[in-house]
């Protein structure tokens, strides 16, 4: 069995120029692409996530690591066949209508991506109808709504209601977040989950669909 520690160190150490070389070396040595992905790249991102939560790594560094991770995934993708992609979560995320705050929402999107989910980021000021359409189009199993204003929190409820009316509610889990949003509010409007930050949002999303 190949040792993936160098690949992990390279990701955690933000030394992305070496990553493609290390991956091809592992492949040449006969390592299974799925092992490189799981024991190399994803395991490294777990370490990164932990360091982020402990405040040892800054978010821009985490995003850099996530970028190198996706470079690595791109190399492996053609070799992975179905095993890598079929069970992945499909996320639609956006900031609700009337709200233009997107920094937190984008962070959540990036963290979900680096956790291996397929993320479709709609942007800001998204109407309930546009959310419904995107969930349909992307065949999403997770819908993430962000709101930073007390004036736009009611729009989260309207969006949840629109999903119910469209008949999609059984097919999609709904997560909500943003500074004024709380667990209680999430329950009140009939969402499935709330998370206070990007790291826990990604974890929650994965557990929602597993």
């Amino acid at each position: 069995m190949t040792d993936f520690s160098e690949i992990r160190e390279c990701l955690v150490g933000l030394d992305d120029s070496r990553l493609p070389g290390l991956i091809s070396r592992a492949l040449d040595a006969g390592a299974a692409p799925a092992d490189i992905l799981n024991q190399g790249l994803i395991a490294a991102m777990d370490i990164v996530g932990e360091r982020m939560e402990n405040g040892e790594m800054f978010i821009p560094e985490v995003l850099m690591a996530a970028q190198s991770m996706s470079t690595g995934v791109d190399i492996l993708k053609p070799l992975l066949g179905d095993e890598g992609g079929s069970d992945r979560g499909r996320v639609v995320i956006g900031t609700v209508q009337g709200d233009l705050h997107d920094i937190g929402k984008n962070l959540v999107a990036m963290m979900m991506e680096s956790a291996g989910l397929a993320v479709h980021n709609l942007g800001v000021d998204i109407t309930p109808e546009a959310f419904v359409a995107a969930v349909k189009e992307q065949d999403a199993n997770i819908l993430c709504l962000s709101a930073l204003l007390t004036t736009t929190m009611p729009m989260m409820k309207q969006t949840v209601d629109a999903i119910v009316e469209s008949g999609l509610r059984d097919k999609v889990k709904i997560m909500v977040g943003g500074a004024p949003v709380t667990q209680g509010f999430a329950e009140e409007i009939g969402a499935d989950a709330f998370a206070p930050d990007a790291g826990s949002a990604a974890k929650q999303a994965k557990s929602l669909i597993s």
Partner: protein, 484 residues
Amino acid sequence: MNLMGLQGGQYQPLTQDQVKTIHGAALQILETTGITYETGLEATANMLEAAGARVNRDEKRICIPRDLIEASVAKAPEQVVLCGRDPKNDLNLTENRVHMGTGGGTIKILDPDTGEVRATTLQDLHDVSRLVDQLDNIHFLVRPCIPTDIDEKDYDINMFYTCLRGSGKHVMSGVNDEAGLHKVIEMASMIAGSKEKLQERPFISVITSFAISPLKLCTQSTLIMQEAIRNRIPVALSSAPMAGSTSPLTMAGTLAQLHAEELAGVTICQLTNPGAPLLYGGIPGMANLATMGYCGGAVECGMMNAAIHQLSEYIKVPNYNSSCLSDAKLPDAQAGYEKAFTAVLNAMGGSNYIHHAAGMLESMLAVAHEQFVIDDEIIGNACKVLKGIEVDEEHLALEVIDSVGPGGNFMTAPHTMSHIRSEYYNSNGVTDRKSRDRWEAEGSLDARQRALNIAKKLLANQKSYITEEVDQAIRDRFNIILPA
């Protein structure tokens, strides 16, 4: 002791050459990179184009040449007077004159009775307005918290009404839309007696976050900004990038981008209505790189806010910015030192209208009654620094030194009596300088508890700044939720 409107400028983090370099960089940003806009601002883009800007409608990009900026900026007034209901609360914003007050929009409060954090209500907004009215070193009232217990369609009118009723100081707030702005102007005109009287003595003004950094115009807020400018209601052109996320990580880069955003805003306003009063509203902030949250308590925020005043002063437009924020969750030692550092740096920088300076915790997300009292003390101390040390015959006191003579004491000298109330800062009562015995006998209270007690006393004083007759007229016209 009146410590409002003193001249700052003692702290200048940028040299004059650096100011010119950053100003030049900002002009270059607007000429080559430009700003972007979205659907809804076509008329604004047309107006800029007609004045000489290059507009690329496919890419929604506007590049503004430097002579257009310079010509527009020159039309903005060098002095803006924001009035209180009583002229003693008037704010003369110009040069390096410093004023400090509250800032807007928190959604949580540390409940004064339980200490627990909870959502803010309309009653909280009224209580906090009453506190600000009575705390001398808080010079103006930017609506400090959101009434989360009322319907959002009632926000605009009720926030202004509640602040104007509870406090006689200048009131500033954002509004949700242009219709909200018109309602607010109408109500304020009723209080003033007429719209003309309101324009003569504007005791209200508006904030618009017209820019979404980096370099993007916010449609709704830009429309509100232009509408306020057309009505000659003073408007603060708020733009608040966070270094590391919505502006470059470096301080110089953040200042250059922010100055560019402000120059664009001032240009739009002065093309809309030349000579209309406005405040340069650059608020340089920082992202907390561990979470990407807003990092208001950092000492660099104090440095950068002083620097941005130098840039506004360079173009001779009075400025609105921010200091005395803290990332602490309660009024603890961290809140104290973060607030004191950024407050004194920005005051010494000479910023004209420093908001966010009282009551806030948790990076703009929470307020606390006791924090208003503590911050009143911090602002007072920061402004006292601006007074400097007077050195003249009277203050040199040679006569009294001679008459007391070697080995004597000054405690009962007439000279002592004549300066006893004016030479040193007078505490609002929150600062403890008692003996330990006395302090223990009084319950060993820390600053937070002492501040809470002061706040409680102040809140016992009822007062309304709206006469019964006008109040009734306003209630007949608008849906006012605060009980009469």
